[in-house]
Amino acid sequence: MALDPGIVGRQYPPTEPYEVGREKIREFATAIGADDPAYHDAEAARALGHADVIAPPTFPILMSFRASFAQIVDDPDLGVDYSRVVHGDQRFAYTRPVQAGDRLVCRCVVDEATSRGGHDILTIRTEVATDLDEPVVTVWSKLVVRGH
């Protein structure tokens, strides 16, 4: 089922805040083998000028993935078959690192909805900001919905 190009620009409601915790950052950093002290120890992060433990560069996927899938992939108007979704591209553009203590809100927008070679391509841009509207990172995920 081809994506309706009219959905480009569709904006989804802001998500409930995701509360970034030190232990979750530590768990994520450990899982990827990132042992820099600033990902584990608040004093090490503060020595670099941050308020608390900072997260590694791909950490925001936890929030953006959850938001984009719950809102967009599951949007009945789009009719996306999750079993056919393949992650195509991914990008993070930072204003500052994510840090423990952040309460982060995701606002998703459909940036692209095209068809190519029998596959549908959906690019979702997620603006991640604090619950005080301070920008933190912009995330783009390009999803390929494989054709039959």
Binding site: G33, D36, A38, L48, T58, F65
Partner: protein
């Protein structure tokens, strides 16, 4: 960093245990990352690493080359081929980089090459990093001296 500089290769071993840990940390429980049966059913050669896990390894290389955990300001990849992780032993992911441009006094743009078994697993992998390391100059995130 110098324009055109070749950055030293980083090699990462990836085991099934790593994928289990990353699934828990990232909340991505897609069974293609832990079940041989499901992976085969969808036509994969075996259990594969999460694409975001491979991107996270490339992110570790960036942080390593920059010498700072908060150096990465922009990071994008395309997922070109899966990293197949054997039930025993490990897959080996190699990350190299070239400094493509120095757009500002404290910035470097890097093109990454990420391979496994001689095949490129991430394409169009590039990043922008701050090269002003440690506490030189102002904290680029706050504009104020480090520690304030």
């Amino acid at each position: 960093m110098d324009k055109g500089e070749q950055l030293p290769t980083r090699v990462y071993q990836v085991t099934r245990a790593d994928l289990v840990r990353y699934a828990g940390a990232s909340l991505d429980f897609n069974p293609i990352h832990w079940s041989d049966r499901v992976a085969a059913e969808v036509g994969l050669p075996g259990v594969i690493a999460h694409g975001m896990y491979t991107m996270a390894l490339a992110g570790r290389a960036l942080v390593d080359w920059a010498g700072a955990p908060d150096a990465v300001t922009d990071f994008s990849v395309r997922f070109t081929r899966p990293v197949v992780v054997p039930a025993d032993g490990a897959a080996e992911v190699q990350v190299t980089g070239v400094v493509r441009d120095l757009p500002g006094p404290d910035q470097a743009q890097v093109d990454l090459t990420v391979t496994c078994g001689g095949e490129r697993v991430l394409g169009a992998a590039r990043a922008t990093m701050r090269t002003c390391l440690g506490k030189q100059g102002a904290n680029p995130y706050t504009g104020r001296p480090w520690g304030e």
